[in-house]
Amino acid sequence: MHLQRLLQINMATLAALGALLLSMGQRNVGLALSVSIAAIGSVWLTDVTGWFRLNRIVANVAAVGAVLISLRYLRFFGGEVDILGIAHMLVYLQIILLFQEKDRRIYWQLVMLSLLQVVVAAALNQGVWFGLLLVIYMLAGLSAMALLFLYSQWSQHRSDAESAAPVLAAGSRWPLAGQRPEFTGTVGGPMRVGIVRELFGRLAMVELGTLLLTLLLFLTVPRFGQTAWRGVLTSPKRVVGF
């Protein structure tokens, strides 16, 4: 499949998963549903057909509006509920980004917003299902990062190749006067080059290694706020209530 299309689908999945994790923390199904619909819709309407694309100005105005609405919520609720306002803001911004024509910058912003959503969700949630979904999120996130990197490299060298056009000096007797040497390297193949089974095999290895490392870190990182474990009998007893 075409690298860009694969990246678009992967990013939409990542956005939907991030929102799902966030909605689990908030117990708000509507949030996950709206982002999922927006993600699927953006792939079709914005990325595949290009029927609906927010231009830069409209997107910026919408983003400012989203921040203002979220601020209003923050002021209204106050205290612990503030984080919910931030979560809403992240979702609004994500939807705005999804409906823009995507380049490297937009993709990176989507990744960062999604990660922020998961960080907020992790602070709100303690369930096991959340942990399992987090693993799926990691798989989608790593493949998105790898695809985004390949796309960035491809588009960077592609744009270099397209920008090379010799400009002839006007009004000069020597045609090379004022010109600078220009060189462009072509990209060795179309955009789908390299999207092979072996790539996903390599990514799977990295993901497996990451899971093992996560487990190791989880088990070995000290918890500074807890006392050392001294067995069942010697463990401190806490008495609450009467």
Binding site: L150, H157, F183, V196
Partner: protein
Amino acid sequence: MLPVARQRQTTICREGWYYLVVLGLVFVPAAWGEVNLLLVLAGMLTGPMLFSFRAVGVTLRGLQVRRKVPREVCAGDLLVGNFSLTNTRRRIGSWAVVVEEQIRRETARGREPPIRLGVLFPYVPAGQSRRGVYRGRLVRRGRYRLGPVRLSTRFPFGLFCRTITVGQTDSLVVFPKLGRLTRHWLARRQEALAGAHRRERRPGVEGDFYGVREWRAGDSRRWVHWRTSARVGKLAVCQFEQPRNRDVVVLVDLWQPRRPTPQHQENVELAVSFAGTVMSNLCRKSGGDLSLVTSGPQPECLSGPASVALLHDAMAQLAVAQAESEDHQIELIERGLANAEPGTDVVLVSTRTVDLGDASRFGSLWADPARRALLRRIRCIDTSSDELAQYFQVD
């Protein structure tokens, strides 16, 4: 095939630093606040960092690169080079490998800042080769140094960059840009050749005998070939081949002030380009001996029979010819006329107006009768003047 690796280096990229900051922002609150899920998330963010450090090293292992680039090219012409990247491993492919090279112009004052170019190889499967092409234009003549080649990758996440420097440097000569001689120039040269020929041969005969044809109105009676006329019963005249094999000396005076303006630099380039074009024209169409003398404290002289080999050497000499602020015009002319035979056509291409009739300036040349005769025959082309456009055009 370029030799084995000389230098290896792994650095963290800008994206890698950003990633580390994000990782720190997740990990520290997670460990401090004992939020288990945040700790899991921090672990998941640590994995890509560590594995990508290893992956960049693995990606470049077993790669061999071969460079193919022309040795000479004219300034402003398209230069096409290519790299062939071979993955010698049996099982593991390489993604997103960038082969970079630098091209640096060498001058008498040292080296100029290099031009960097890169070719991206999105994927090189195990045991296979891929070819990448780069193209561009070098706009200044001279000798350039290519290489060494750098292989780099940031696969898989762009967090680390691994670079390997391979191979040795190579050289490339950029010849002067060639233009076009106008009909005016060619006609003038033809006139000069015919004039010289007339001076050397008996009057009325235009060159070497070529054949016989029927008499036409205007033909000289001296050309009538009486024996053929008697045989065919009509007047027949001799045909003569136009003389082409004349010795030519091209003198190139590259003067510019100590602080040259762009206009002065243009004049220098025009002079070199014009001299190169004249040499090219003579080497392809003429049969005599040619000499090229370029100015300098010790004027550089190149001479030999007109040929492609001589043209190549002449272009190489013009490629590295440098303008100077000191006046070496007299040495140049003396050197050019030193071995010139009588009747040699001498062209002086200069970046300034030259008055060869100035006996005070060229007193040493005027004192010698043989040189004086040659001096009178020198054709001066001043590239700072608009007159050049009559003889030469460069697009």
